[in-house]
Subunit: 354 residues, 2 copies
């Protein structure tokens, strides 16, 4: 199949450091190539891919030091480039929210759009109602709840390639890990409280967005004075495997409807169990008592730390391989692509009689 | 002529408080109605207009207390509403930057797009090169400089209706005024330094965006301890007329390529001279020695304060009436609309032989 992948331009594909969407697209793209498809990736110049690369910006936006940039212009220019080549593809897979709707309204049936973000926002129902022709993919069933009537064609849980994540089943080093973004909904302050209650060391590897600087300075920074807590900043894939593989558990104390939570499967790839709050996608990703523990409070989380010995790091990795490899994800998307192509063929009267 | 006006949804039309673009569109829309046109305004529910109103959101985005909103979804839904009704109009006038390009690419010739922002951004040249079919209007010649090759069809300086601004030619109350937004490029700290050097009181009426809170707390707030400086927060149109009419001068010490600077003509409408830094549009708006003084430093600005007695507040208002009334602006747009309609007629072979 001739497939176009169209991720956002905020981070490199894959990201050098933080970044969920572009990481998933990078791994999906390579896995589709491995499955034998003819894949074209539209991305910024740093992209590393086994697919054909069409460079649409010199570098990814977030870490570009240019003083004045326009996210919107960069993305719209990319979309026009995709539009110009639309005839080259059987399916165009967008990861850019709704930005492509205007330009692709007349060929919506040859597109698929994965929504990567939270959907409980005031303006979304009206928009998606107005564009019913675009087939949408959710990254968890939970993510769909605010938009039950949108044109959902499937849920595809994320997967990642395992090359970058070292499995270290017997080698935990006696610390708990927090990995991600410093923000109230991700709960680094709760992670610190949990580690304290459990009497364990905590290492925090996270980026701090401009918008979250005040929260960091006012809430998190004072807690870092505790010698049991170590803040190591934003880390990349290579360090991530070691960081997670060495952890007794990943602490994931979210307070928002997490649409997926890529870090949970990254931890599983490294053999680390996950102690996660029961919000959003968590029940679809973590198998309670097998790959981690699902909890509802700091106390429950601290109690779960004392039960970590009952989990097998090797079994956790096995569950990852079965459910969350990039290939597993690519196969699920492959079947959605095939459905779209077949539907279109049927519309055009082109489907071969079986 | 059947005209659609499509402003952004960030502020009410006109704005309750701060907001340049939506204010200009409000005044343009009413002035076009007064000129006899059939005008439709797409806007949020609070809009006050003499045109036909199509409500596309319950309220404007910025002051909407909803915790989670999507600017992009709100605007794209509005644009689709406009697209559905495109046949009802001879001309569709967008004030939404480039967001409409995808959806209106096939009928670009019946649209006009006024760009209201700064254009010296990395991603813009590539985007505008890719959409040459959209006719663009600049709000000053200076604004065009970073994009000399875009498809410019005219420059239309802003205008405002004068009903809202009291002319108080003989009634200055002995203070200097700063009005707008607290941000480094608008220069409230420089305004304070200028007032101090000139030995005058300064009143600051300004909004503070989330992004500028750190700048406010770190740079501006400490300067407010001076008893000669008064910070009165964000104000609306009614207060603005009094605020500017009572000022000896508006201080406009910008440090960026200001595309227009609406507050300069609001000051002129109230009879107040403007002391402005020589950046961006300033030379196109202020007539040095007649409606204000154009300066290049805090010292020059302070010296200009001592020369304010040489300016006539009545003459300033006269220049405003001649150059910057809403009607003057509407007539300039009217002639651009007519050109577009005529060109399209010629393309379609529909122009009557003269």
């Amino acid at each position: 199949m001739r497939i176009a992948q169209v991720p956002p331009l905020y981070e490199a594909v894959p990201p050098r450091l933080y970044g969920g969407t572009e990481r998933v697209v990078a791994h999906l793209t390579d896995a589709l190539v491995e499955l034998g498809h003819d894949v074209t990736l539209f991305a910024s110049g740093e992209a590393q891919t086994r697919a054909r690369l069409v460079v649409v910006r010199d570098q990814a936006i977030r870490l570009d030091p240019a003083p004045l940039k326009s996210d919107l212009a960069a993305h719209l220019a990319m979309l026009l480039e995709v539009r110009d080549r639309a005839d080259d593809f059987d399916i165009i897979h967008f990861h850019t929210d709704m930005l492509q709707f205007g330009l692709f309204a007349d060929i919506a049936e040859k597109t698929l759009t994965t929504l990567h973000g939270r959907l409980d926002m005031k303006d979304l129902p009206n928009l998606y109602r107005r564009y019913p022709q675009f087939g949408l993919v959710s990254i968890s069933d939970s993510q769909r709840k605010p938009l039950p009537d949108a044109n959902w064609v499937g849920t595809v849980l994320h997967g990642v390639h395992t090359d970058s994540y070292v499995q270290r089943p017997d080698n935990a080093e006696g610390y708990l890990a927090f990995l991600g973004r410093i923000s109230p909904e991700k709960g680094p302050d709760r992670a610190i409280a949990i580690a304290r209650a459990a009497g364990r060391r905590l290492k925090i590897a996270a980026k701090i967005d401009q918008a979250d600087r005040a929260y960091f300075h006012e809430v998190v920074e004072p807690l870092l004075a505790d010698p049991m807590v170590e803040f190591i900043g934003e880390i990349g894939d290579r360090d991530k495997g070691r960081f997670l593989g060495g952890a007794d558990a990943l602490i994931f104390p979210i307070d928002w409807p997490e649409p997926f939570g890529l870090v949970m499967i990254e931890a599983m790839a490294a053999g680390a169990p996950v102690i996660a709050y029961d919000r959003g996608s968590v029940r679809e990703v973590i198998e309670d008592g097998l790959t981690g523990f699902i909890v509802n409070s700091e106390q429950e989380a601290a109690d779960a730390v004392s039960r970590l010995g009952s989990l097998s790091r090797r079994a956790i990795r096995d569950r990852f391989d079965l459910r969350f490899s990039a290939t597993a994800m690519a196969r699920r998307y492959q079947s959605l692509y095939a459905q779209r192509v077949e539907m279109r063929g049927a519309d055009l009267g082109l489907v071969r009689s079986a």
